[in-house]
Structure formats: C-alpha cells, structure tokens
Symmetry: C2
Subunit: 224 residues, 2 copies
DNA sequence: AGGATGCTTCGATGAGGAACGAACTATGCG
DNA sequence: CGCATAGTTCGTTCCTCATCGAAGCATCCT
C-alpha cells in the first residue's frame, strides 16, 4: 500500500459538485467573494461558506480580506494546473452528456451566470451587439464601441462605472460552446431584465424564465 | 454557472481513498488484477470490484482479459498526468502530515505492501541483502547475486520461479522514502515470516506485528 | 466431470458529509 | 448610534456511497 501524499483528500475536495463549480469559476483568475461563489455553485451562502472553509483548509485557496469583503482565489498555478488536468480528462471522457429534464431545457435558454445572463438568449445578445458594433470584440477581449455610451444610456444603463471589475468580459457558455457577455455591463443588463420584470428567476434554480411580453421587450431592446 | 465537463464526477472518482490507492498503484505502469488492487487498497475483493467498475465506467481504466485474469490499467497518459498533477498538489500542500495513533506507528515499522513486507524493517532488510551482495542493486533494478541461490535455499526459499512477475523489484516505501524488496522473492519472504509465526497481521490493518522471539529470528536471518 | 481459483453481483448495514434555516459576528454607511 | 450588508457558526435532516458476507459466474487444471 502507498503511504504517499494524500491524493484522495485533495481529489475529494474537488469531487463535490459545488466545490468543483467554485474552482472552475476561479479558474478565470480573478478572486471572488463568498456570495459570488455561492451563486456560481448554486448553493446557499452558509453552504458555500462551509465549502470554502474546506478548500482553504485543504490549501487550494487563498484569502484576501478587504474590509467586509473576503476575496477567495486559487492558491497558485499548481492548483490551477491540477484543475486543468482534471477538466481535460473529464472533457475527453465525458461525451456522455446526458442532460434532459424540463428545468434543464429552460436553463439552456436563459440562466444566471454569477451576476449576468447566460444561455442561448445571452449568446444571441452578444452576437447582435457585436454585429451592430455597439461592442467591439477581439477574441476574448470586449471593448465598448463608439455608440455604446448613448445606446445603453437610452435604455437606462450607465456604462461608466468605477468598479474594480472590467465593464465587459467574455464568459464561455458551456451549454452553447460560445461566449456571452459578463462584466459590469452584463450585470447591469441582467439587473434591468429583472427590474423590468421581463423575466423572473425560478426558485432553487439558476434558470431565468421570460414572460411572453418580456421576451418581446428583450428582443426589441437587445436583438433588434 | 458552468455547464462544462463534469469535473466533479472525475475528481470524486479519485477522491475515495481506496480508489486513490488503486490508481497510485497503477501509476507504476503495469496492469494489475482485481485481487492485487484489493490488497493494495486494503479492502475486500467485492469492494475492490465495485470500485473498479466505477473507475471503468468513469473511463479512467482499461481492462485486458487474459483467461481468468482481468488486468486493469490506467486508460492513458492523460489520466496518468491528472493523477500526477493531483499528487503534486497533495505533496505541496500536504506537509500537514499528521499520522499519530498507535496503529500507525506499528505500520511504519512493518506492514504488508500488496504481497510483501514494507516499512522500516523491510527497508533495513533490503539494505542488508544488498550490502552482503546477496542481491545486486542498480538503482531500481534488482538482480540475484551469485550467492542468492544457496543463501535463500538455506532458509527454505526457492528463488527459481516461472511466474510472469519478476523475482526482485524495488518498491518505494513512502513512510521511509526509500525502497524495499518486492517481486516473488519479497512475497516468499513475507510468506516465510508469517508461516514461521515470527509475526502476525493485525486484523483490519496492514500492520505486521513481530513477536519478541520472531523479531530476533527475523533479524538473525535477514539482518545478520 | 469435478474441483479450485479469480472475479462479480446482490443485499444489508452503517457512517460521512452536503444541505439549509436560524442565529451570531463583523464591517460599512448615514 | 442604528440599520444594512457580508460571512461564519451551529444544529438538524437526509441521502449517498463505501463496506463486507454470501452467493453466483467464469475460467482453468487434472
């Protein structure tokens, strides 16, 4: 028997779906707060906090406290490399994607991804914004176009924020295999969708359900 | 949220101690049978079989049937690379080696490693056999020396076997970080130790407990 | 054929741990 | 100071899954 490094301990940390989602989210490289990670993983805040403690104790995460915010990040490139390796095996082995169920269909259409919209609707929206040159996209880099300012101001969204986070970011949408819009702009758009009651979040799910009228309004505003 | 490859599924496969031990054992590159892996993992045969099914279903293993033997091996270099990556993180993070407990102390002294002896006693034995040139060692390669035949015959061990397995093999002992003797010779020596009742296996453990008299006999025979 | 060995399946048991709500602590804002 | 927001801790519930013994297949040996 092997008395080596405790590989089962590390692997089992990654082996929980909630923790795996958190780690995947952190693979983006930017540190996130507990509540952001809770959303990402689809669990409650207490549950997320418990998972984060375990990941910290396991040495997979680092913690940077800034005031009342606590930013969790991957502990280092070695950890990131491990996640990559596991993801690679999962992808190679995983063309057994069984994902039916009524709620999952809704999730593919539209869902919350951290603080912005994901799914087919979100991918279509980004496509359209780029096609109209409201946004300028160069691979994964997304910039505001010249008309962005007025375009979004007309909808009631101020693109000038002084937050740490970038205004625009591409976020890979795994259900569609294409990118959708993240960043503060993505978040603002989701806020508007919910504030206008064009759609509602389904309880205990990340699915976002558009009402018939809301869907029209959304398409008129963003897919025109 | 991420709808990507199911990394939690793969990681949780590795996250069970029994399965992790099996995978570590297979990192040697040679395929092993279910019963060998059961010993390696320290579980019963049914339990091992169940784990192997899961690893197969997860795509981490390949299976080669040869008659009534079924040899399990790692599915490929990508899987091996993943195990390496996890092991690396575990080793980097793991200088929290807390391993007290009465039974664990006994395990460090002597324990069963698959079918041969491991632990401090086993490492000392290999050292001594090499020093006396009964065995000739070149790094991880171990050959029988000229006097090996008569030396082991005197103890009642026939070193001439026609098994597939090599007679001598070096096996890295993680508790001591040095090698001990595996292979059919290592197995024969463990058999003799137990047959002569120099030591007994502790129930539900891989620990091997020498009796005071047995210890003397062992040391006279192999450490003289 | 009959027995031995290698391995899997079945069924029952038990323990670990994931989940959440409620309550508690800490930081920031007015 | 008091209220709101961000996080953690506690206690409970529940379910998955690891484990083993017994029994069932499959293969080899004689």
């Amino acid at each position: 028997m092997r008395e080596g490094p405790d590989i089962a301990r590390i692997a089992s940390l990654v082996g929980d779906p909630a923790r795996a989602n958190m780690l995947s989210a952190l693979m983006g490289g930017t540190a996130l707060t507990a509540s952001e990670l809770a959303l990402e993983a689809g669990v409650s805040l207490p549950t997320a906090s418990s998972h984060l403690s375990k990941l910290m104790e396991g040495g997979l995460l680092t913690l940077a406290s800034q005031g009342r915010h606590r930013y969790y990040g991957l502990a280092g490139p070695q950890v990131a490399g491990m996640i990559e390796a596991i993801t690679g095996v999962a992808a190679a082995v995983g063309p057994q994607r069984v994902r039916p169920g009524p709620r999952d269909a809704a999730m593919r259409v539209a869902r919350v991804c951290y603080d912005h919209l994901a799914g087919e609707q979100a991918v279509a929206m980004l496509d359209r914004l780029v096609a109209r040159q409201v946004l300028l996209r160069d691979d994964e880099e997304i910039q505001l176009g010249p008309s962005a300012d007025s375009h979004f101001a007309a909808i009631g969204i101020d693109v000038h924020t002084k937050a740490r986070r970038p205004v625009c970011r591409a976020c890979l949408d795994w259900s569609v295999r294409r990118s959708h819009l993240a960043g503060t702009l993505g978040a603002a758009i989701l806020d508007k969708i919910l504030a206008e009651k064009w759609a509602r979040r389904e309880k205990d799910s990340r699915a976002v359900i558009f009402s018939p009228i809301g869907k029209q309004a959304f398409e008129k505003t963003f897919l025109a």
